[in-house]
Each structure stands twice: as C-alpha cells, then as structure tokens.
Amino acid sequence: MHPLRQVKGEYVKGMLAKGIREEGRGIFNYRPIKITHSLLPNAEGSAQVEIGNTKVLVGIKLDVATPMPDKPDEGNLMSMAELLPLASPEYESGPPSPDSIELARVVDRGIRAAGVIDLKSLFIEEGKVWSLFIDIYVLNYDGNLFDACTLAAMAALSNTRMPGYEDGKVVREGNLAKLKVNNVVTSCTFAKVGDKMVLDPNGGEEAIMDGRLTIANDENVIRAMQKGLPGSFTEKELEHLIDMSFEKSKELRDIIVNSKSD
C-alpha cells in the first residue's frame, strides 16, 4: 500500500474506533445520492448515479442474437463493468480486472435473481432473440461501487426503450415501447473495520476495511449477497445487516421511483 494511503487509513481507523466517520456521517447513512436518467439518447437506456463523489454511468444496448441452445425461448442478459483509468489513480487500462468482473457479476445476479427483466419477453422469433447489454462505466471512484452500479443499472433499465425488429432490420428510432421492468432490486453494501460496521463506505474507508458485505433485496426478499475481502462476519452481524438492508433499501427504492424522468 502506498504510504499516503496508509497514513490516511490509520486516521480513518482511529476515528471509526470511536464510532465517528470522517465526514461526520452516521454509520448507517448514505451519502447524498443523485440519479440522472436518459442522458445518452444513442443508447436504448442510460442513467448516471452519484453517491457522494462516486460517479457511475450505465448504458443499455439491445441487439438481435441467437438464443443459447439450452434456452431457445429466452433472450440474453449480459453485464460488464469498466473501471475506467480516469476514475482513479489506481485504475489501469487493460483487460478486465478481477474487481471489475466481480462488480459486474454481483450487479447482474441481483437483477437476474429479482426477475427484473423477464428474459422470455426478449424472444423475437424462432432462432432470434434480443441480447440485452448492461455496460457499467465507473467515472469517478470514491467507494461503494456495488450500490451505485446496481442503482444505475436499475434506473437505466427503467428508462430503456425496446427497439423494433421489422423485415430483418433493427429499428431504434421513432415511437418505441418501454422495456417491461417487473421488479425493483437495490443493494446495500457494508464495510467492516475492526469490529465496527458502516453502510456505504467511501474510498478512504474501503482502503482500510477488513471485510465487505453486499446485500441485494427487493421489497420482500433477499436476492443476492456477496462477501468480499478476508474479514469475517458473525451470524449475529449478518442478521443485523440484513435488517439494515431491508430498512435502507426503502430509501433507495424511493429515490429510484421519484427520480423517474418520463
């Protein structure tokens, strides 16, 4: 670790041991969240989400493809994440890093498990289905990419317009129907530092966290979980964080619903 991060980290750790966060934020509070819908008209759907200084962008594209052999009546859903080198001095160009693959897969799992998109509705005709691409672009890193990216993917799906398919051609302009979104899933990410747990860790907190837990849920049930880093959680802690995630996800769902631009 760079000595500067080490020095900054020790300070954050010392404060957290006293139950105080750097910005004076409550331990289970989010930073301010802002959603911008449909900012990229070339994409079928798009949204930008800011959580504090973390800024992520999701673009949705749909292309005609052949279905998977074992699921001939279902479309494809593909999620990818790019940790752009302009987002952080620690990100580098090159093939996807394990971090970016984990990020994309966790977001994907929540959306899939919650049945946000009915993949059968992406069927076009025998041998032809829609492939739906969720591309996640991280523009500025300051912690908690999981929650920001799930929010952005959810928001972008909610404003996605379905292209048409006529005479073997894809029609992307004109009066298009909206993609049917069947559920709303959000995630809450907690960092564990020593024996303290906080919601929505910022970059400084993530630099020193021992463990991380992401819980994705809809209104009723848990849809995906991912623990990261070596630090462990007790079962009691897990139960507490599940309760917290149900409580906090209400705020997130409200933010998504109230942010609707059209």
């Binding site: 990229l40 749909l62 292309d63 080198p85 302009l86």
Partner: protein, 247 residues
Amino acid sequence: MGSSANKPELIVNGKRLDGRAFGELRPLKIVAGGLKNAAGSAYLEWGNNKVIAGVYGPKEALPKHTQDPEKAVVKCKYSMAPFSSLEEHNRSGPNRRAIEISKVTREVFEKVILLEDFPGSEIDIYIEVLQSDGGTRAAGITCAAVALAMSGIPMTDLPYATSVGKVGDHMILDLNKIEDNYSDADMPVAIGPRNGEILLLQMDGTLTKQDIKEGMDLIRKAGETISRLQREALRAPYERISNKYKN
C-alpha cells in the same frame, strides 16, 4: 467513405440534412471539471457527441524504462463506450482505430505541454466517448485541452480541433456521422490558436488544393467560436464562486 450504391442526399436545397449551413458548427457545450479524482477533467457535448476527458499527473513515469530524464512523457488513451453509437453494441477495448487516434491526439499535446518542466514524469490523458455522432477525435482533443488546463499543467497553447469534408462541390464544416460516412472526403484538423499552427492533420477521400484552402478557412473561422467556448468553460467555475461574493 461509404459505398455510393445507397448514398443518401447530404445536401437538400442548399442545406445539410440537420439544417445547417455549409460552414456551420453543431451546438457545442463545454464544462470544465467534474471528476474529483483527476488532476483535471472536462465534459463536452458537441452535436450528439458526448465526451469526457480526465488528466492524471505529472507523476513518476512507470515502468521506469518509459522515463525520459529530460522531460515528461505523455500517455493518451481514447476509447469509445460500448453503448456510444446509435447502431449495435460495440465490444469494449482498444481497436486499431482507437490506437491510432490515441497516438495522433498524444502528439497534439506533446507539442503544447511544457514537458521539460517535469523530467522523469508522465502525464496521462484519458478520453472516453460516451456517445458518438461523427467527429469524436476532434471533440476529444477539444475536451482534453480544457482538462489539461484545469490540471494546472503548463502549456504554450490551448488547442482545438474540428473537421471539414466535401459533399459534391461543397466544403462542409464539422461532419456528423452520416456526413462522415458518405462524404467524398473527410479532414480532421487540430490548431493551436495562439499562432495558428496545425497540430493534427488527417485526410482521406478526394480534395483539391483549393478545397483544402477553403476547408482550412472554415476551420479557422469556427475555431474562434470553439476557442471562445473553451476559455469560457475554464473561467466559469471561478467566476461562479467570485460572483457569489460580489457586492
């Protein structure tokens, strides 16, 4: 240049398809800043293009063998988002086109940055095209110039870029995607406005010497507008705060 078989009419009644005159720029909006982690950043909308640029450094050049003991080295990466085009989804990752654009963009900035001030260091320029509609390399250069100025890196000039092309007998400015695809020629140019030096020049298609002269005139005239918008974008964040406390 596209095939002539299904070539659309690009000029109808003396106007271009989007209603522009031959020498008219698309609407251009530049915002300086926006990315907290970068030393400098900028966002730009140019017609339907949307581009973001971020600058890191100067910092120690790594790996060490890339260091130049006399001056800073510039690294530049231009890339297009997979969701950036109106057509199908693009695979991410650099292709041959992006690698070439990154190189010619880097050379623009190597000319204007005071590299000797930072021996042994590197300056990274990242250009991400979020939405594309023709002319993205010009948009990227115009945007990156603002991001570099925001980073405080000293430069002899603030470059801008745009393109000209030829449709029938007419030279047209600032080609959008469809014009770029079907025009008879396309010529992107970057200029240092301080003394008018040409910092980037590429061309393909068919042009006469007279066409090129005419095209350069269109570019320089448009350059007055582009430069002014760059300068205004750079002043805006400071003037906004100053105005807050005026009177």
